[in-house]
Symmetry: C2
Subunit: 342 residues, 2 copies
Amino acid sequence: MRTLRVAIAGFGGVGRATANLLLIRRGRYRELHGVDVRLVAVCGSRSGLADPEGLEADRLGTLEPGLSGPDFIAASGADILIEAGPSDFRTGGPGLAYIRSALSKRRDTIVISKGALVHSGAELRALAQATGSLLKLSGAAGAALPTIDLLDHSLTGCKVLGIEGILNATTNYLLDTMMTTGLDFAAALRQAQMAGFAEADPRNDTEGWDTACKLLIIANFGLGADLTMDDLTVEGIQSVTRKRIEAWRAESVVPKLVGELTATQGSVHASVGIKTYPLTDPMARVRGKDKAIRIVTDAMGETVAIGSGAEPLATAAAALKDLEHILQARGSHPERRLEISS
Amino acid sequence: MRTLRVAIAGFGGVGRATANLLLIRRGRYRELHGVDVRLVAVCGSRSGLADPEGLEADRLGTLEPGLSGPDFIAASGADILIEAGPSDFRTGGPGLAYIRSALSKRRDTIVISKGALVHSGAELRALAQATGSLLKLSGAAGAALPTIDLLDHSLTGCKVLGIEGILNATTNYLLDTMMTTGLDFAAALRQAQMAGFAEADPRNDTEGWDTACKLLIIANFGLGADLTMDDLTVEGIQSVTRKRIEAWRAESVVPKLVGELTATQGSVHASVGIKTYPLTDPMARVRGKDKAIRIVTDAMGETVAIGSGAEPLATAAAALKDLEHILQARGSHPERRLEISS
């Protein structure tokens, strides 16, 4: 049985959930794909662990200081990198160096954090193509909500005319709260922060940047566009007044923070802002922390998907879906591939 | 450039739409997959046309009597069969002989009609496996609504706990009409028949059999179950009284004819019947002729998909999605494959 060595860079909640789920699924990988999957390295920003024989769950509690960085991951002999670090689209975040390093060494790479994909997506796509590595990113493009999957697989052959997505759980939860309780933005935000549904500095979510990042990744990696943040109009929900909420309630419409893509004559236009839906629209029924996407194509009409997995498990499962797609794609040439990548 | 010869058996509305869409997309197949796709044969139950150089759209208006049947298709030299005949799950329908013939000659096969898959699914699966042929069936399992795609691709690695699907457009339209207009079943049916949304003999739809067929195909081909029609409890909407409609309206719930699968300890239980949803549930918002599926998994929670493509184009597009998935899957060994299949 061939062995496949996996490393995880970024070891917060999502990285840990991914490690645990991967270890649980080892039997599946053996039976279904004929591969002995080993977790050979994990690291956070300052500490890590490595073992070429594979790490077990009971060893992941305490990391060793100093074991971190792209060179540490490369030295672990990993065939595949899963990148799960903090996201920063203005700099690419710490993930960028890990992803660059892995792709340039011909390692198939699974990306969960959005920063590097938004900041340097074109470079990373070109690098993957040049080295023949697979770059997968379900975890960064809606996680358990299928987005690029639909474009790549379920709608194959169709021409995409437009996409709209409710892609950020925090803003969806906040708008829901404002609409149902009558709380204003500040009060709804405080409540969400106390409940753990919004961050201490919530601006990345509330000002629309997180939605914009996901939209841009879907456009560039799902539709082959070449957009940067500068190409997007981005509006958030921070200026929504109680008066506006009351007007929407009076009209019986539901406001959602939506990322929209319109494809016309080979070019893609993208924006993030509030859009209202009548109660009869399934998009109006996307609750609390759920996410949704509507894709309109020439031949299949409208396809709506709604996802509501619990985090961080759902994102871990999205990344490991990517892992199995890699196992499938590499399945036909296992020997050749392992020569290249080891 | 390699040539791929396609034949279509069953040449009603869906077969014709598939032929036309395939001809329109030939440029795409050449550019994206490097394959010259030719439509080398089409046939209905009593007439057909064949040309090894490829048929063009303007020749498809008039078929020649006598050119029909599995031997006619085999003689056309087709590498791939698309089966789009009438569906009969009690006998397997005319499609069964075409599919058997194609698979036993190692031809990859795309099935649109449900009959053969319901009647002889286990045999056809075994035959495809024995001959190494690909058997694809998006068109028979929800068409433009992604169902098996979600199970096979978007939810890879997750354990499916349950599925519920609004899989039949006619019953969804009838229940919608009864709920919104107050018409009883007989009156709603007459209206739908006049509008062309229900067949003269509507029992295959209204008694739940069409839903049951799709559910069984999803269970057997998507979840690896081994169910027959005898394993399903099937109830339709034909006995819904005005009184029951009034009670649902009073409760503010929406009735849907739903196919349900529950997976427990390796076995799959399936049934078709009416289920009601609160207005806040996206399933309650599946309108008129749309279809929907909800899949619950261990790691990704709930995934809902709603599809609303116009027929017959959407079903043609589903079958041609299968064609591209075959082109992708065969892409890595084009020469070997063409040796085998030509």
